[in-house]
Symmetry: C2
Subunit: 316 residues, 2 copies
């Protein structure tokens, strides 16, 4: 019988049992006490994986690009995990993406682990669930985690932007650079990819991005996002893209920015857990007996709402 005990599953997953890994991620998604135990067991073992956020408008070819990157990495013998994050989908567990990837020929390859994450369940939504899932993949020894988002919504940009290296994918076509700026992608990009570069307008798109970067450069003397051209369908430009990721990784280590990002990410996660825990308590209180009895006193004007709130909060 399959165990659901994190104390059993974590060593199994570290030993390479992908079924155990899948069950750990399901526990994380469901939240509650088991998810906390998973975090407690995984956190001391994590902190070694390099995370790559991949974002861009729907249709930009992110999934095809991810597949091409997987192919490149596997040809070098590197293991990789992919988290496909879709805030708009109620589905989790990787069925849809799994199908796609199986068709691409990664089926049965234990060096690739792919998982879809949707908004269902977990307290705090995907902004909290994603770092929790990355922690597990990291702790079991996967050296690379690609976080692929389906679009450029606020949550998706936020999630992709907290990776070690954020890759923003655009296509040839008028106004892409402007749209990237509007969606906040300029702020988070460490690397730009003009995908579908076999189509007309790739050079124009690259030049627009370059000009936009001139205007919005965050720190003079810091990292300047390179602009690469790929054709993921033909697997063109992928080695150069990966070389840029590795150059950025070296920059993170050499500049100390990697440590700084990691610290900020953990501070954000801790703050989010604190806020969400308090919000959950507030919601529990708002449905409780004390709330109803003090509300009755507010309605009859015996006490004011602020005094009433103090009484409710005395229960926290």
């Amino acid at each position: 019988m399959r165990s659901r005990d994190p104390e059993v599953l974590v060593p199994q997953a570290i030993a390479g049992d992908r079924g155990a890994l899948a069950r750990l991620l399901t526990l994380v998604e469901r939240g509650g006490e088991p998810a906390r135990v998973v975090a407690r067991l995984c956190h001391p073992r994590a902190g070694h994986a390099h995370t790559i956020g991949l974002t861009g408008a729907p249709g930009a070819g992110k999934s095809t690009l991810t597949d091409a990157v997987i192919g490149h990495l596997r040809s070098r013998g590197t293991e990789v995990a992919v988290l496909a994050v879709d805030p708009s989908s109620p589905f989790t567990g990787g069925a849809i993406l799994g199908d796609r990837v199986r068709m691409q020929g990664h089926a049965g390859d234990d060096g690739v682990y792919i998982r879809s994450m949707a908004s269902r369940g977990q307290l705090g939504g995907l902004s909290l669930a994603t770092p929790e899932a990355v922690r597990v993949l990291d702790a079991v020894g996967l050296p690379l985690v690609i976080i692929e988002t389906v679009g450029v919504g606020q949550v998706e940009v936020e999630i992709a932007g907290t990776a070690d290296t954020t890759v923003v994918v655009v296509n040839p076509g008028w106004g892409d650079a402007v749209q990237a700026n509007k969606a906040g992608l300029m702020e988070i990009a460490d690397i730009f990819v003009v995908n579908k570069a076999d189509r007309p307008g790739a050079e124009v798109a690259a030049r627009d991005l370059d000009q936009m970067l001139e205007m919005t450069m965050r720190s003079p003397g810091g990292w300047r996002p390179p602009i690469l051209e790929t054709s993921a369908v033909e697997a063109k430009g992928i080695p150069d893209l990966w070389a840029a990721v590795e150059t950025h990784q070296s920059h993170l280590v050499a500049s100390g920015e990697g440590e700084e990002r990691r610290r900020k990410r953990l501070a954000d996660e801790l703050r989010a857990i604190v806020v969400h825990t308090l919000e959950r308590r507030a919601m529990e209180l708002a449905g409780g007996d004390t709330f109803e009895s003090v509300l009755a006193q507010v309605v009859s004007r015996r006490i004011d709402p602020w005094t009433a709130a103090d009484e409710v909060l005395a229960q926290v």
Copy 2:
């Protein structure tokens, strides 16, 4: 010297001192302990004013309509307060609206009290500041409070929708009824006003609204929002509008719906205060010494974020 002590200002404002009333509202806007004292002093005295929410797209003529309603009420000797709520403006204190109204001839009339409210300051924003301000106006004895919003943003619709009687203003023109539905105005309207009814298309707009109401009626046998035509600039239709407000007021009393709305409004306010108080605490904690010291332990992977959050929350 002018007092800033709520214990002094409340009796002065009840005695009709508009300067004292203005200072009370400033205390409410600034928040903190003085605002709580104001709420404590005013809540037992409040609960008598009828509140009217007035909302609609920018340019629909809400301000002119408000002025026309004020004129109608003053001709009958009724006192009235207006809260002009603008989530997009950083200005408070009534300067802009005050100027407009002074031009309309209400200057020096102590039977009219007008105040602008913007998003600055107050914890919880306008959704919390508005009921606090209404409480003060109510407690000092103003029998009517018109809450006018500048547009149909989420906050504005929410604020207008919590009044005793919500008036939604539209104009003649194709698609207004559809837009009203999209903006969530159909849900909150107790009375529809087709303003600028001297223009072509007023009857079509009224008919569209009527058909839309047929489809979206909330409770069969309950209140059906009447659709009135006004021309605020020419002060046409205002007595009929006011008669509809009074009919709705009678309905609220007779059906018990008024009490129910009042109870829900206070429950919403209490819940909002609880949530915002906890959020403020979480933010204080996130900037505190405990947070920094546990974060250092998370970064060095001695403890996981969930255990760290427990340690931070032990300070609440």
